[in-house]
């Protein structure tokens, strides 16, 4: 009889890594990683804009006014002679911060409301859904303008305003997922083992609802960035000297006939960022869906 091989003890981390690998292991394709690469660059710019060796984004050098790309500076200069590349890098900060905070606010508030509504049903659910339908039926731009006029134009205030707009969407996603999770036998099994309602919500329902919420979050972030730039285009986002992508497009529209790049470059940057977010979000979502159906 051969000596019994002692099974290798795997650590918690190794097991977790293996589970992750089974979910993410199958190839995503180069497009996905390209999109991730772009998002990493944007995130890096947003975090370290102040320490990067860049020209001052607020410093007007009249001599460089409307310089084209690759003439003296990398991407040229805008109508006031400010360095476009530097402004792009600093502008990413606004987009990323607002994207993250607005989505987080929407996710937490909307997600919590949606889970509670989906679990307890009854009058609360009906009332909440009615209110959310009203909010959804309201023209979002008008609502947003009203909110911004009311709570101000700081980075944080704008994040809250946009985040508020996302609550209905998130509540709906969370409620729909909760409704399907609550039907599963493991929720009943947990209840049969004496789990309290809070425990069921936090341990059984939440982890299963969070994945689709997070995947939806990336797609939502792309939309938030567009909403923010729409505000900036109307001059209602973060106040003037602070560079934002939407603001740069807005300023560039005056020079469209003579210097297209001033508006085009931030447009392309934003386009790429939103595209990447959608792409990554969509891939992750479909991957999670596959996982669900495999179980």
């Amino acid at each position: 009889m051969p000596a019994k091989k002692r099974p290798k003890i795997e650590s918690k981390a190794q097991n977790f890594a293996r589970a992750l690998q089974q979910v993410f292991g199958r190839g995503f394709g180069p497009g996905f990683w390209l999109a991730v690469f772009w998002l990493v660059i944007v995130a890096f710019c947003a975090m370290f804009a102040d320490w990067l060796p860049l020209r001052d984004p607020l410093d007007p050098v009249i001599a460089n006014r409307l310089d084209g790309p690759l003439s003296g500076s990398l991407l040229g200069a805008d109508g006031l002679g400010r360095d476009i590349f530097s402004r792009l890098v600093h502008g990413s900060r606004v987009s990323v911060v607002i994207g993250l905070t607005a989505v987080t606010i929407g996710m937490i508030v909307g997600g919590a409301l949606g889970i509670i509504a989906g679990y307890f049903r009854g009058h609360f659910e009906r009332a909440l859904m009615a209110v959310l339908d009203v909010i959804l039926a309201f023209p979002w731009l008008v609502l947003l303008l009203a909110l911004v006029a009311f709570i101000g134009q700081s980075l944080f205030a704008i994040s809250i305003a946009i985040g508020f707009l996302w609550i209905p969407a998130y509540a709906r996603v969370a409620r729909a997922n909760t409704l399907s999770v609550v039907q599963r036998e493991y929720v009943l099994a947990a209840k049969a083992m004496g789990a309290s309602t809070t425990r069921i919500l936090v341990r059984e329902v939440l982890p299963n609802v969070v994945l689709p919420l997070l995947a939806y979050g990336l797609v939502a972030m792309g939309l938030v960035i567009i909403v923010e730039s729409a505000l900036a285009f109307l001059g209602l986002s973060v106040e003037a000297p602070q560079p934002t992508w939407g603001g740069m497009i807005s300023e560039g529209k005056r020079h469209l006939a003579t210097a297209v790049h001033v508006a085009l470059i931030p447009s392309i940057t934003m386009f790429l960022t939103v595209l990447s977010l959608n792409f990554v979000g969509d891939r992750l979502r479909s991957r999670f869906d596959v996982k669900e159906s495999n179980l």
Binding site: P7, K8, I9, E10, S11, K12, N15, F16, R18, A19, Q22, R121, G122, R184, E185, Y186, L188, A189, A190, K191, A192, M193, G194, A195, S196, R199, R203, E204, P207, N208, L211, K291, E292, N294, L295
Partner: protein, 347 residues
């Protein structure tokens, strides 16, 4: 461990005249009608019936697990170790569930949460009911997994359910149920979703755990063969009613209700010659909303007479249950009981 005494074990579960009606889109569903039975400590009660005969609803109602919205009426009483279940608050029920009464569900694929590790799921009730620390609970979890026959338990604890096979998952589900040494285990079709070889292993595991821990067990199944050798008492349910209840040996020796007989005859036997037609019960199980008067089985019963279509037969003690000396009575609900002794006993 003390050997179980078989004389007069204390009463574990006493269900009396339990009636449950559920709301549905099609109207009131008479899911459970006037069901009574008792279960003593260490006993196994097998509940047999077709799909939709109210087995699961009955099992879930024992611990008030049915969604409150869907229960339209609930009558009768369920007494567990001397405590009336419907009188307990939700808090008290939570303390009872898992600690006193545990449940095993049909499909191990869905009975485990896909995003939590085995360790978390098994140690949850340990931490809650026994107040163990996280570390102690983890240790206990490994012991439990070992006890239910999961090889290499120390490695398996941190795995996720999708990394285990169906049989392994059902073992984990059993480990969760055993975690707090419950007095009563309700196994709701524990082997239906598993293939036959694994079925036997799981059933053996259940009966082993049961004798070790002296649990009472409610084994719900639609397979007469499953309960045949494992249950002390067998209850046959049809259309929400208990149609026959007897100690297993008595039942197979002298079944009284035509439905039991029909069920028994529809088991394929290995001793049958080749190309034997499988006996099936003609017709379909009745709809449980607005039941017609009379015995629910009458339309499908080959012995049915006029009276069967008019009156609902009461549950009575079988007249000739003198064959067995066991104190437990042989009950049935039929006006014209068959007096057949099963000739070809299934193993």
């Amino acid at each position: 461990m003390t050997p179980p005494e078989f004389k007069e074990q204390p009463l574990l579960l006493d269900v009396r005249n339990l009636t449950i009606r559920l709301n549905s889109a099609a109207g009131l569903v008479h899911a459970v009608e006037d069901v009574s039975f008792v279960l003593r400590e260490g006993q196994t009660l097998g509940i047999v019936g077709e799909s939709g005969s109210g087995k699961s609803v009955m099992a879930r109602s024992l611990m008030n697990l049915l969604p409150r919205r869907s229960v339209a009426q609930r009558q009768g009483c369920v007494v567990l170790s001397g405590r009336e279940i419907s009188a307990l608050s939700e808090r008290e029920l939570q303390k009872l569930r898992g600690a006193q009464v545990a449940m095993i569900f049909q499909d191990p694929m869905t009975a485990l949460n896909p995003v939590l590790t085995i360790c978390v799921q098994v140690s949850e009730p340990l931490q809650q009911h026994l107040g163990l620390s996280k570390q102690a609970a983890r240790q206990r979890t490994i012991e439990l997994l070992d006890a239910v026959g999961i090889p290499d338990a120390a490695n398996r604890v941190d795995q996720y359910p999708h990394q285990l096979s169906g049989g392994m998952r059902q073992r984990v589900v059993i480990a969760i149920a055993m975690a707090c040494d419950p007095a009563l285990l309700i196994a709701d079709e524990p082997t239906t979703a598993l293939d036959v070889t694994v079925q036997k292993q799981i059933l053996d595991l259940l009966s082993r755990q049961q004798t070790q821990r002296r649990m009472g067990m409610l084994l719900i199944t639609h397979d007469l063969g499953v309960v045949a050798s494992r249950a002390d008492i067998i209850a046959v349910m049809y259309a929400g009613r208990l149609v026959e209840l007897a100690p297993a040996t008595t039942l197979f020796g002298a079944m009284r209700h035509p439905y039991t007989e029909a069920l028994f005859n529809s088991i394929p036997r290995i001793s049958d010659p080749g190309h034997t037609r499988l006996h099936a019960i003609p017709g379909r199980p009745p709809q449980l909303h607005n039941p017609s008067p009379g015995c629910a089985f009458a339309p499908r019963c080959q012995y049915a007479q006029q009276r069967c279509h008019r009156e609902t037969p009461p549950v009575v003690v079988a007249e000739s249950s003198i064959v067995s000396a066991k104190p437990t009575e042989h009950l049935h609900a039929c006006f014209f009981p068959v007096a057949k002794s099963a000739s070809g006993e299934a193993n």
